[in-house]
Amino acid sequence: MSVLSICNSRRPFCFSVDFCCDAGQIFAWAARFAIGGPLLGISVGVIVVWMLDYFVKEDSEAQITLTVVAAFSCFLAAEGTDMEVSGVLAVVFFGLYLSEWAAYEEKIAFSLKTFWGEADFIADTIIFVVAGLIVSSVIWNGDIGGWDWAFLGMLYIFLHVIRFVAILILWPVLKSKRGYGKRWGKREMAVLTFSGLRGTVGLSLALIAQDMLRSRGQEDDEKNGGLIVFSMSGIVFLSLVLNGSLMNPLIQALGLDRESRAEEALFIHSATRVEALLQNYVDDLLKTDVFLEDAAFQSVWRYVPVFSSAQYWHRIESGKVHLGPFEIQDAVSPAAARRRQRTNNPEQEYCCPPAIQGTWNYYHRQFRQTPKSEGGALGFRRTQIVITSKNETHRTLEYQAIDLQRQLANVHEQLQGYHTKISHEENEDHEDINPSEEDLIQGRTRYIAAIRA
């Protein structure tokens, strides 16, 4: 209120500077307002980061309090004093400066992010419910007629039109290739146009506008204020419901979620690399180990995840995984697999532990095959990998590969430990050069169990 209202002793924050409607003065004032805000925010940011680094590095409570004090004082100094700069821009740039710092101090910033996430949750919740309250009071007081509802619908459409026109005008700048990636086209333009959702900030400005108009108290002000909150809430509602839920189908229809051919090739290549690394690891390190020589490596390879059809076929062709007769049947015809699953108990027929039968069933489906007539090993032909949600696949690949690598490394480390222990014993006791039979058996069982787990 304070920023907008004329001086009033009851209001704690107010400006003494007169506002003038001369265009030049407005421009000068706006420039000062818009440039001063970021400057204030960044200078507060510099001070706060310095304090975070040197004074309260270890104390998360003090850090949180410091950022709270800084964010609010930043806003108060900008909006509530004669400084005449934009508090919103100051806080935004203060936050950006701090996020730069937080990117390097991930661990320390965690508690800050948790706290501010919670504060944001509460603020969001309050603003949306209060807007709902005001909308209902506006509707029940009869200020909203049929024309206002029609206006809301037209405004919703118009917002997209005007956003599209703005993007069209700015397109030469927006599409320009800076940094990395490929050029943007019509598809990106559509997503950009469609992503003009309205939310909390607009809603809180509408509430502020309503209070401002009410306190001015001229003719129609009460109704206009109500209409502003009504239309803003309506737009927030429509844009969140319609744009929010139609964005997913839009992206799918435009094909923006799919890999380009280059990305796909890259993905398959990296999957092949991972496979080669794993093969080296298993063949060179694990298989040659004295304790693991008769481990069930068929099962080990069943546990190692498959990400591409090349990988899938390599497993089968190189004999790392032997498909049972029923599995081959399932791989050839997914319909047959479904039929059999309905009638029979699939556990009897797959030659792998029950825990991963579902996974292999999924692999057969994922790396889909064509019939025998079209050739290929085992009577199938390799087909291109189909990635529908590429991020998910990438992430799965990454996590599973890391996890697997860690598990294998763990087993190997234990083996190394055993070797050292044995050679240690050898050094200590020259008479007993070979480990006892019992030791060997115990060691084998242990590591086979570790690998199977």
């Binding site: 209120m1 920023v3 907008l4 004329i6 009851r10 704690p12 924050f13 506002f19 805000g37 950022t67 964010a71 806003f75 909006e79 919103v88 806080v91 203060f94 936050g95 950006l96 996020s99 990117a103 992010k113 501010w116 504060a119 603003i127 419910v129 709902g132 005001i134 209902s136 029940w140 206002d148 206006f151 405004l155 005007i162 956003r163 026109v165 700048v173 927006l174 800076r178 997503v191 003009g196 309205r198 939310g199 607009g202 809180s204 400005l205 502020i208 506008a209 206009n224 209409l227 927030v236 969140l240 419901v241 744009n243 929010g244 964005m247 997913n248 949600s389 590429k390 991020n391 990438h394």
Partner: protein, 206 residues
């Protein structure tokens, strides 16, 4: 909480806050922050058809409607306090929290890469759409003066595509596009607010 702008409402702000947050926890737990379109099997799936904030808005309207029916209780006076809320509370308590949080959690590296695009979209782009919306609403709503129409235009230019940005990231769309949308919304909060203050002052000047 408030600054005692309206002497008639005694300021029972807490009642609404408590009820609201209780509902907020339920809605947040059930549907999370993003929209999940899928098969509706139980109550939780019905909730997840709409984003969490929309449920809050609906809850607010329902609470206000109940309030019209049942009066003379604590909840009623609390709702009246919130209906007549002083904008200072929103401006000085809630707005800094929202802005700081969204700026703090943004990825600074890509923002810097796309600074030019973001400022084009959030500067001239916002000015253009604010004027467009202002003219549009002045033409359609007879009670609006030009100033009030531009006030509506400026406050309607602040975009907030949180749900969409999360979706873009999940679906693996070009990372630059998501960042441009996120960065634009961050900066156009500021530029829309600058316009809002300019128009607001022109309105309050007698």
């Amino acid at each position: 909480m408030g600054h005692g702008d309206n002497e008639d409402s005694s300021g029972h702000y807490e009642a609404v806050v408590v009820v609201t947050l209780a509902f907020g926890v339920v809605a947040q737990t059930i549907c999370g922050k993003s929209v999940k379109v899928g098969v509706v099997k139980n109550v939780a799936d019905v909730f997840s058809l709409l984003p969490y904030t929309i449920w809050l808005l609906i809850f607010g309207v329902a609470l206000g409607t109940l309030n019209e029916a049942y009066q003379n209780n604590l909840m009623h006076s609390s709702i009246e306090s919130w209906n007549n809320i002083n904008a200072d509370v929103l401006l000085f308590v809630l707005l800094p929290v929202l802005l700081f949080e969204s700026a703090f959690t943004v990825d600074p590296h890509i923002i810097r890469h796309e600074a030019l695009q973001i400022f084009c979209l959030a500067g001239p782009g916002v000015l253009f759409s604010a004027f467009g919306i202002g003219i549009f609403s002045k033409l359609l709503i007879p009670t609006f003066s030009w100033k009030i129409a531009f006030l509506l235009g400026s406050l309607m230019s602040a975009t907030d595509p949180v749900a969409v940005v999360a979706l873009l990231k999940d679906m693996g769309v070009d990372k630059r596009l998501g960042t441009l949308i996120e960065g634009e919304s961050l900066v156009n909060d500021g530029s829309a607010y600058v316009m809002f203050v300019i128009v607001g002052r022109a309105i309050m000047r007698k």
